[in-house]
Symmetry: C2
Subunit: 346 residues, 2 copies
């Protein structure tokens, strides 16, 4: 591997001059520039970024700490981060904490995650990254997992309670509001909700979105239509069965994720109801399986790719000392109309 010295020697100039043409700084005569460029090409010289980084104290690399890459939302977020990074000459140093595999459901205990995060983040910082992106696998408060004061950082798919932190998530309230509205516009008046666990912020936000749509449309809010699930398929199945046991059962169900929506569809089928002819079901997430189940699920697509891009934008701004960036970005989900919801005829 030729170094800048080799180029300089061969071109009969100093390394400074080579450096100037490499970086297009300084002023170099057209003639020597041409000669240097030629030799660079001839020797197939590639600058050693490690050496450069040491000198300029910037690595042009971003540390990406992800709680679990195998989680369904991680890939698209990383894809978005990568796209932006590539367009701006940044590289990604990826660390996967494997939270799901290692902690199972104990991820909720911040202390456990912190134990995983500390060494990972330490290692990344020692590699002198210019900034950090932390990707949760599940929207929640993540305060205390990272103790950091020396590096710009933005959180995706999670947030902290610290005012000075930056995060990008999607708008849960709006997602539920829009999907509920969609059902209302289709003529539904009895719209049930199968929510996630109520100790989660997204559950509450989504419920509020649903509630507001009901109110805005002057419908009657019926608490018996609200069922609390646990995000899993089985709870969607079980709670739908409960819902259908009532004599005047709802004509539509908003499930707060696609897992539970899939459970709901199965419950309807098992009761001999046809989806969407007899009952409409909409989910939230747009998982891979959602277009494979029967009927294909109408659901809200999460702006995952965009979240990655926006996080990078925030991070770049912070790195460049632009403190006017919005601290808590909330992106919009989009409704994907498939086959599990229909207009009501009467």
């Amino acid at each position: 591997m030729p170094s800048i010295k080799d180029i300089a020697r061969k071109a009969n100039v100093s390394t400074a001059t080579v450096s100037y043409v490499l970086n297009e700084t300084g002023s170099v005569s057209v003639k020597t520039r041409a000669k240097i460029l030629e030799i660079i090409k001839e020797m197939n010289y590639q600058p050693n970024q490690i050496a450069k980084s040491l000198k300029i104290k910037k690595t042009k690399t971003i540390g990406v700490v992800v709680e679990d890459v195998t989680s369904f939302n991680s890939s698209e977020i990383i894809d978005g981060i990568n796209e932006y990074a590539e367009n701006h000459g940044f590289s990604l140093l990826l660390t996967n904490m494997r939270v799901l595999k290692r902690l199972g459901q104990e991820y909720s205990d911040t202390e456990n995650v912190k134990k995983l995060a500390a060494p990972a983040i330490n290692e990344i910082l020692n590699k002198q990254v210019d900034g950090l992106i932390y990707i949760g696998f599940h929207t929640r408060d993540v305060t205390g997992i990272i103790e950091n004061d020396k590096i710009p950082i933005v959180y995706i798919y999670c947030y902290t309670s610290k005012e000075e932190d930056y995060s990008v998530n999607y708008d849960d309230h709006l997602a539920a509001y829009e999907s509920t509205n969609y059902l209302i516009e289709a003529g539904h008046r009895n719209i049930a909700v199968i929510s996630g666990l109520f100790n989660s912020n997204p559950s509450r936000e989504r419920f509020n979105g649903y509630y507001q749509a009901i109110m805005d449309n002057q419908l009657i809010f019926d608490p018996s239509l609200i069922k609390t699930g646990d995000w899993e398929f089985e709870s969607g199945y079980r709670l739908t069965s409960e819902l259908l046991a009532a004599e005047n059962h709802p004509t539509a169900i908003l499930a707060m994720n696609d897992n539970m929506a899939a459970g709901a569809i199965n419950a309807c089928k098992d009761k001999g109801l046809s989806v969407p002819a007899d009952i409409s079901i909409v989910g939230i997430d747009d998982r891979e399986f959602s277009s494979y189940i029967n009927p294909k699920l109408t659901t809200m697509r999460l702006p995952l790719h965009e979240m990655g891009v926006e996080a990078m934008k925030s991070l770049m701004a912070i790195i460049n000392h632009d403190r006017t960036v919005q601290r808590n970005k909330k992106l919009k989900c989009t409704l994907i109309e498939r086959k599990s919801a229909a207009k009501v005829f009467n």
Copy 2:
């Protein structure tokens, strides 16, 4: 950020001595070691890996070039790579080429992928990674995409025609052999195949596995039972419909991926056949959706995580000049028994 100089000064020793205790090289008296260690802790000193890398010419980081992170197989592979890397003190520099989004189906043209790969790989090499892992999103010959002679590299989910290259894949032949055997053991005698495109190596290997299972069990090979699909849902649906039109239709179908298996299930349902009571279906891949469709799909799980781990093992060996590593590793898939296949009664 304190440097090794700061530590040395405060401890009244040379930077050499600090370096010795940091790396546990050289011999340092217990006393000075203790003092240095104390000061390191006190100042919360963290060694700058960039500086170290420049000196020792090793970065302890591996470049991971993935054709498309959003492809269903990528995450688990990365998870495996990450696990091994973490256990051995390596970091991952990730580059996503976004082949699917950028090229659509034109990925098959090596030239197009090469155009994407060249700058990505160049950038990674300039960051002085110690090795490279290339993850295809689809098993195929990838010769010519990377022109490299200076760095150890192993291919996952793809391979090259060069003898000196290393790759890790799974055993297509065995996967089809075992799944066919499974159906035979369940009593099936008329087992159809819906294959992928026959210009792909996996299709051919899988067909051979099927064929060998038929032969080994002294069954009759019936060419009319072999249908060539294109890996997509629709072809599974269409070809299954064709299969079912025959008067003595098969009692089992081996679909060469889960997409087509899902199509097959739907086709059966639409013809009024019950899966698995009337007809058994098994897939290959174990996609996320495969446990959500109805009935849940019996399929071969790909050893993705393990492929990541094995690739890292190969890479470490090559880096350490151990040239005895197996050049083409083929890992075993495992049958996931769910609900889409059953014994035949007669």
